[in-house]
């Protein structure tokens, strides 16, 4: 079936089988392997992308459902060599360890900060409720999102310099 999808601002016309999942379309047809497949059941959020402004789990959506829509993936968030504030936050605040959950975590954090650029810690924890991380214990992810919020608000982020003891 022919679909036309805008991915990170580029229009793609593709022929896909109806059973192709959006995540497979992105990874295999378009080569955008930044979007990960973790649980493959809709629970972990590693495959989170933004479709028409809302986060979805790309392992639980058909590519044909995205026909005519616009998709944003982790590959599309940086501005050239300049990291997105959320990416910078994860970098500065050690918001990742193995990095497997990170692309999905960043997409959810971007959507959260788009609707509220000054979330409380509780709002951040709820904002990433659909994304599981097996490494960090979420603490540094929360700090990363707080850092990014400050950047987006034009304030000086706090806590980035805090050393993580080894």
């Amino acid at each position: 079936m022919e679909i036309s999808v805008s991915v990170n601002g580029t229009d793609h016309r593709s022929d896909v089988e109806p059973r192709t999942l959006l995540v497979h379309y992105l990874r295999e047809d378009l080569g955008l392997t930044g979007t990960h497949i973790g649980c493959d059941t809709g629970y972990c959020g590693a495959c989170t992308v933004i479709v028409d402004g809302r986060t979805v789990k790309a392992c639980t959506m058909l590519a044909v459902q995205a026909d005519g829509q616009s998709v944003q993936t982790i590959e599309g968030v940086a501005n050239g060599d300049e990291l997105h504030p959320v990416q910078e936050g994860f970098w500065e605040c050690h918001g990742l360890q193995c990095g497997f959950c990170t692309p999905g975590m960043i997409m959810s954090s971007i959507a959260l900060l788009d609707s509220n650029d000054d979330p409380t810690e509780e709002e951040i924890r709820h904002g990433i409720e659909g994304n599981l991380c097996r490494c960090t214990g979420y603490h540094n992810i929360v700090r990363s999102v707080q850092y990014a919020g400050a950047r987006i608000r034009g304030e000086e982020p706090q806590g980035a310099s805090q050393e993580v003891s080894s």
């Binding site: 059973r19 059941t41 044909v64 026909d67 659909g130």
Partner: protein
């Protein structure tokens, strides 16, 4: 994992969707896909045709119809939860939609899809039972209305036939309602281990009418009639609430799974009936 092969159609009118459903042997309606796609990936369901109703105009509206509000088939959980109309007139449904799954699932899944799917532990079916909602169902033969109390037949089984589409639900205005839940991941995340939706009409210091629905506890979301009876005609005091809570699982075969034993779930059902009643009668 990916589904077995199927034909995909995305009709632009309801009539077209209904014709395809009535003409095919094994077609399935796709709305949000948050239950259907996982089932297809696990090959527990293998439809020959998938009828995506998301491109039919007008199905994604929440409207004020005077004595009731109407919620269309493509209204997503997130929109139900955030709708000022639903929050004002059907608080239990807004709360149940907001407590369903997680953000990404709420962005995709639909209120009507959750009702049509009829999972034994689903959140929003309990709310529509307590609110006394009506399901508006279309097929090529015409439209019929099904009361929530008659809609949930058994686990994953509703009163819908395979040729029918749940077009919208009508939720009557009036009274006060609430939904409280213990999710499998604590708080409200994920399916409930036990949860309760209540609706009361308590305008003059006495409870003149009440409906209490429990989910996650039995083989389907159910109305706890004896619990409701225990508060109707009272002033809604602590004693009446405790009496209602003690009848939360009357005549129900309580489930047991890794999240809770029969004894624990039965206890929780009472606790959540009590908490939900306290919320509306406080």
């Amino acid at each position: 994992m990916y589904p077995a092969k199927f034909d995909y159609v995305s009709p632009s009118t309801l009539e077209e969707a209904l014709s395809i459903l009535s003409a095919s042997e094994n077609a399935k309606v796709l709305s949000g896909g948050m239950s259907l796609i996982p089932l297809m990936k696990m090959r527990l369901v293998r439809p020959t045709t998938v009828v995506d109703i998301s491109r039919i105009p007008g199905l994604d509206e929440i409207t004020d119809e005077g004595d009731h509000i109407s919620i269309g088939a493509m209204v997503r959980h997130a929109d139900t939860a955030a709708s000022p109309l639903v929050i004002e007139h059907a608080a239990a449904l807004a709360q149940a939609a907001g407590a369903t799954a997680d953000i990404q699932v709420r962005n995709q899944g639909t209120t009507c899809g959750s009702i049509a799917h009829a999972d034994l532990a689903a959140d929003q079916p309990a709310a529509v039972l307590a609110l006394g909602a009506t399901m508006v169902v279309a097929s090529l033969a015409g439209t019929r209305e099904i009361a929530a109390a008659d809609f949930f037949v058994d686990t994953l089984t509703s009163a819908l036939t395979p040729e029918e589409i749940l077009v919208k639900i009508k939720v009557p205005k009036g009274g006060k309602s609430a939904y409280v839940k213990l999710g499998r991941r604590g708080g409200s995340s994920d399916y409930p281990i036990a949860a309760c939706a209540v609706w009361v009409d308590a305008s003059n210091g006495t409870v003149s009418d009440a409906r209490i629905a429990v989910t996650g506890v039995g083989s389907k979301p159910y109305l706890a009639a004896a619990s409701a009876q225990a508060v109707v005609g009272t002033d809604g005091s602590g004693d009446a609430i405790a009496e209602a809570a003690s009848h939360a699982t009357d005549d129900i075969v309580v489930l047991e799974d890794l999240y809770g034993s029969v004894a624990y779930r039965s206890h929780l059902a009472g606790v959540y009936v009590q908490r939900a009643l306290e919320e509306v009668l406080a």
